[in-house]
Symmetry: C2
Subunit: 219 residues, 2 copies
DNA sequence: TCAAAAGTGTTGCTCATACACCCATGA
DNA sequence: TCATGGGTGTATGAGCAACACTTTTGA
């Protein structure tokens, strides 16, 4: 039931809708987040870091908005993203009433171009030394990390962190980076194989002075 | 990262934020939803049923908005609600661009007053014969029921359907109504007791010609 | 003594965990 | 032959599913 009789009343004149994307990758065994530096002079958070985000256009859905913003501001295309939570605290943005639909986004390192169309300074920051972020973005991060950690154990969401072909050890490193704890190699392999999500490519790869490892893909 | 430089551009002039509450109860072993009938003449859905909802005021959060609307339009106070998902399809409301933050709400039958402040016709409708609803509310219902079903098996959310004191059989009936399937009495009791959420009041109750049942409360 | 719901135990299976050694390779 | 990571099996305990009968009560 949505009534529009109040559409033009003073209740609504500040309704502004945004999206924010908590964008993760796992690089060399470390869970990292993509941050952008706030540059505009009339923002009291100028110079601080925040998740990539922006206003939703009236001709796009929230999903489309996230894709556009991650592309334009983060230089990332074809990313996996899913809606996280909508943050609507009245004072979450000091410039006015901004309600933000937050997303988690997951990428492997291959789809990242290190340029973006906006003049936005970005960086990847390990979750373990995240600075104080602008707005309520530390709180959003907390919810996002919780969601990511719970989904990686009961879904195949880890695949969005992986390249097409990978070894079981690489996959295990991703799980460990996300969950922040080591796992038993034998139990990890047994469980992941029994989930029946992986396909053995029969190819092997070797990185250094050691036995070659079998390459897998997600089905 | 939210930039407000486009705040006044034509991209935004239709941004309207609403909430919708998929409000559940279990009555006599049947899972029901609260619906309101659309009355306004300038709505093409006039006469159809929809979830309780409305626009978010600029001085309230989405949570507060749901509480207000369920109170005013549904006559329900002190309800448990949690955010479900934000629906942002461009054409989901034919009157214009309305983004809706959907909630699930759970009530036991005691907090329901059968009057509301708005002149809104409401009814409780069994999920099993839900009519075609206005807007995208059938889709919202689907997501809401999925969420309710998954949460009832790994959380104690069922308590919001129960009165203060209840028998294990009554609790089981609620689980069965939500999940849509019968459960084994012995296994149900074992599991629910082992979760350690219940407290035996040592009181018993009797409804008819039968052995009295023990009353429990949630801790 | 009957009807109606309350209440109760055991067994087998599946799944998660804990745990240690050998293998293949190139230097 | 050594260093490095790749790869494997077993035993134990916890939790879930299947399954049927006895108890209490009032009519």
């Amino acid at each position: 039931m949505e009534s529009k009789k109040n559409l033009k009343s003073e209740h609504l004149k500040f309704a502004v809708l945004a999206v924010d994307a908590v964008c993760f990758r796992v690089k060399e065994g470390v869970l990292e987040l993509l941050l952008g530096k706030i540059g505009s002079d009339n923002n009291i958070y100028k110079g601080q870091w925040a998740h990539i985000g922006g206003l939703i256009y009236s001709e796009e859905t929230a999903d489309q908005s996230v894709d556009r913003l991650l592309g334009d501001k983060g230089g990332i295309k074809n990313i996996h993203r899913e809606q996280l939570y909508t943050f609507s605290d009245i004072d979450r943005d000091p410039r006015g009433r901004v309600v933000s639909v937050a997303y988690i986004a997951l990428t492997n390192n291959d789809d990242i171009q290190n340029k973006n169309d906006a003049e936005l300074e970005t960086k990847w920051c390990p979750l373990s030394n995240l600075p104080k972020l602008a707005y309520d973005h530390n709180e959003i991060t907390k919810v996002a990390v919780e969601r990511l950690r719970s989904k990686i154990i009961y879904t195949d969401i880890a695949k969005y962190f992986m390249p097409t072909e990978f070894t079981l050890s690489e996959l295990q490193k991703v799980y460990e980076a996300v969950l922040g704890e080591g796992m038993d190699k034998r139990n990890f392999r047994k469980r992941i194989i029994s989930l029946n999500l992986l396909k053995n490519t029969k190819k092997t790869v070797k990185k250094g002075v050691m036995r070659p490892a079998t390459l897998y893909t997600f089905k």
